[in-house]
């Protein structure tokens, strides 16, 4: 144990006292396991304009984030906008029947898909969401989490 180690240990002790992990954060972390479920197939994120370009794509008036998810049978294209601090999602699906369910850690909401494959979900919490749908063969599919 040298002087540098001593100093880091001292800083660690101080950090725990004045800047330790909030208890609420631990509670949320413990609850995260309940969001796992074992049925369904993933829909892989293949592109994200926020990552690809490092910035949002500029739409007519406001930034729009574009995301694409794919499996062999299903594709989901999303346009995500921020509206008044919430997320508004417009999506186009292919290979999906019925409805799309938007899930957040707080709950979920189901929206219809029109004949052309479009759907939209407004007023999602800004933090994180994912989408759940059913492929033509009945397989459940889910996107990975999209963070706001």
């Amino acid at each position: 144990m040298n002087a540098d180690d001593d100093m880091v240990d001292r800083l660690r002790r101080i950090a725990l006292e004045v800047d330790g992990p909030p208890g609420l954060m631990r509670e949320s972390a413990l609850a995260a396991l309940s969001l796992r479920c074992l049925d369904g197939e993933l829909v892989r994120l293949v592109s994200d304009s926020a990552v690809d370009a490092g910035m949002q794509v500029r739409g007519a008036d406001e930034p729009v984030r574009l995301l694409s998810f794919e499996t062999a049978e299903v594709s989901i294209e999303l346009q995500v906008r921020e509206v008044d601090g919430r997320m508004a999602v417009r999506g186009l699906v292919a290979g999906v029947v019925g409805e799309v369910r938007a899930e957040t850690p707080q709950g979920s909401r189901t929206v219809p898909v029109d004949a052309d494959g479009w759907f939209h979900v407004d007023d999602l919490p800004p933090e994180v969401f994912r989408l759940h749908a059913r492929a033509l063969d009945g397989t459940a599919v889910t996107t990975s989490w999209v963070t706001g």
């Binding site: 006292e17 609420l24 995260a32 993933l42 989490w145």
Partner: protein, 229 residues
């Protein structure tokens, strides 16, 4: 309103790849004795819904993730978001962690990405700001609430941290994680070569000693060494 119902799914996406051949230097005692096997067992158990196994994994790594988020100078709300998103990614990947012995590094990489994502979100209103993201982080973060500290020297040391360069603050804050992270984990958390962690740590601590040893600098409250370690 969102209806309460049980969400159900699994998913994956490109996940952090931990370079093979990394050593968790310096070797630390608590990693000895089958931690990797233990991680593998805990991950497998958590994947079947075992809450107690998940609790162990959370408690084992929460301090590291929190320190990473604070190292990126996220405020409490943003840091909590970044850390929670990291847990959600792990829940998605519970049965896809190829190297359980490097779980902490996987989490560190994921946390770094989530932190950068949160920071990017904060710069949305300012196109072009992203490139300078890391050098001009928000000032809000490291808690300066030293009222809890009984020892005035500790309080002075903590306050002196903000006078270091951004990179030093980030490095030291991650090194302060409890339990202490390995250099491999720190390297992945900060996207730095593992070989640079030790020398950088030494330079940053030397700088901290300089700052705390100079009352004039302390009282002036200016940042020094902005361009260097």
């Amino acid at each position: 309103m969102l209806a309460k119902e049980k969400p159900c799914s699994l998913s994956h996406e490109s996940h952090p790849v931990i370079p093979s051949g990394w050593l968790g230097a310096p070797v630390r005692l608590w990693w000895a004795g089958g931690m990797s096997e233990d991680n593998a067992r805990l991950l497998a158990a958590a994947a079947t819904g075992d809450q107690s196994a998940w609790t162990v994994l959370v408690d084992r790594h929460l301090g590291l993730l929190w320190s990473i988020a604070r190292g990126y100078r996220l405020n409490t709300a943003d840091a909590s978001d970044a850390v929670q998103n990291t847990w959600l990614r792990l829940v998605e990947h519970l049965d896809r962690i190829n190297e359980p012995e490097r779980l902490a590094s996987w989490l560190a990489t994921t946390a770094r990405r989530e932190c950068l994502h949160v920071l990017r979100r904060g710069t949305r209103e300012k196109p072009g700001a992203a490139a300078e993201l890391l050098e001009h982080l928000p000032d809000s973060a490291p808690s300066l609430d030293t009222g809890l500290l009984l020892d005035e020297r500790d309080a002075a040391l903590w306050r002196a941290l903000v006078m270091l360069s951004e990179r030093c603050q980030r490095l030291l804050r991650v090194l302060m994680a409890s339990p202490p992270p390995s250099y491999a984990e720190v390297a992945t958390a900060l996207d730095m070569p593992i070989g640079s962690i030790g020398p950088s740590r030494q330079r940053c601590l030397d700088r901290l000693r300089q700052v705390t040893g100079t009352d004039e600098v302390l009282s002036r409250g200016t940042s020094i060494g902005e361009e260097e370690w």
